[in-house]
C-alpha cells in the first residue's frame, strides 16, 4: 500500500492524516507536494498525523525533515501526531525525535499551536 493523504482543518490548524508507507518514490513525493502546496497557500500551523503510517524509510524521514524546515522558513510550524512505535523508534535512533514537537493527543496538539 502506498501513501494516502487527507487534509482537514481544525480551527486554524491544518491536519494531514497520513496512512500507508512513506518511502522513496510516490510516497515521499506525495507528502512533499502536499506540504509545499499548504505552505504556498499560507498555512502556517500544520499537524502531520502519522497514526496510520506503517513504514517510513530514510527518504520518508528526509521528507519529514524537509517539510519541517520548509514550513519553518515560511514562519510556520510543523508538528507530528500519533507516532507508531516503529516510527518513534526510527526518529529516536536518528536523533530527530527531539527536533520535532511530537504529540499523542490531537486536541492537545491543536491547542499547542496557540
Amino acid at each position: 500500500m502506498s501513501v494516502k493523504l487527507n487534509t482537514r482543518q481544525v480551527g486554524d490548524v491544518t491536519v494531514i492524516d497520513v496512512s500507508g508507507r512513506i518511502t522513496l518514490g510516490e510516497g515521499s513525493s506525495a507528502l512533499r507536494d502536499a506540504l509545499r502546496e499548504l505552505t504556498a497557500k499560507g498555512n502556517k500551523k500544520i499537524l502531520l498525523n502519522l497514526g496510520d503510517v506503517s513504514y517510513i524509510d530514510s527518504s520518508g524521514i528526509g521528507e519529514l525533515v524537509s517539510g519541517f524546515t520548509t514550513v519553518a522558513n515560511q514562519g510556520g510550524t510543523l508538528k507530528l501526531l500519533s507516532l507508531t512505535k516503529r516510527v518513534k523508534d526510527l526518529l529516536q535512533i536518528t536523533k530527530l525525535y527531539t527536533v520535532f514537537d511530537v504529540h499523542e493527543d490531537e486536541a492537545h496538539a491543536v491547542r499547542s499551536f496557540a
Binding site: 518511502t23 522513496l24 518514490g25 524509510d57 530514510s58 527518504s59 524521514i61 528526509g62 521528507e63 525533515v65 524537509s66 519541517f68 524546515t69 516503529r86 526510527l90 535512533i93 536518528t94 536523533k95 530527530l96 527536533v99
Partner: protein, 150 residues
C-alpha cells in the same frame, strides 16, 4: 531454490540479479523478507532486515547504478552455520568512501534531507561491511544473527 555447501556449513537461499529500478527495491525486500521468515526471524527482526535491505537496494539502484538499465544489482542471501543470515548486495556503480559519508547524527547534519541510509543499515543489522569490488561496484554485506538475542 536453496543449495547446501556442506564443507562451509553455508546454505544459499537467494541469488538474483535485479534491474536498476525502484520496483527491484520492493521485489528484493519482499523476497528477502520471505527468506527471513523461513529462517525463523520474528516480526520485529523481519522489519529491521527489510528496512536495511530497502536502504541498501535504494543506494545500489539510485546512487550506485544511477537507474542505469544496463547495470544490475546482484543480491545473494545465505545462511551460515545455521547462525548467521547474510545478505550481500552488489551494484556496478563508481563506489564511494565510507569514511567520507557525513555522520547523520552530528548536530549540523540532523536536518539534512538525505544521508541516513548507511547509518540505518548498521543500526538495524548485527554487522555490516562495505567494500569496493573490481572493476567497478560496491558490495555491502549485511548480517543478522539467528537465534535469541541477549
Amino acid at each position: 531454490m536453496a543449495t547446501e555447501k556442506g564443507a562451509t556449513g553455508a546454505k544459499d537461499v537467494l541469488d538474483r540479479h535485479y534491474p536498476s529500478t525502484l520496483e527491484s527495491v520492493d521485489q528484493a525486500e519482499s523476497e528477502i523478507l520471505n527468506a527471513a521468515g523461513e529462517a525463523g526471524f520474528d516480526e520485529d527482526d523481519q522489519h529491521r532486515i527489510g528496512m536495511a535491505v530497502r536502504e541498501c537496494m535504494v543506494n545500489a539502484v539510485v546512487h550506485g547504478n544511477r537507474y542505469n538499465r544496463n547495470k544490475q544489482v546482484h543480491v545473494a542471501v545465505l545462511i551460515e552455520d545455521a547462525a548467521r543470515f547474510i545478505i550481500r548486495i552488489t551494484d556496478q556503480g563508481e563506489g564511494f568512501e565510507v569514511h567520507e559519508v557525513p555522520d547523520p547524527l552530528h548536530d549540523q547534519n540532523l536536518l539534512r534531507h538525505s544521508g541516513r541510509g548507511l547509518f540505518l543499515m548498521g543500526a538495524f543489522m548485527d554487522d555490516m561491511k562495505v567494500r569496493k569490488v573490481p572493476p567497478a561496484g560496491t558490495e555491502v554485506t549485511l548480517v543478522k544473527n539467528i537465534g535469541p538475542h541477549e
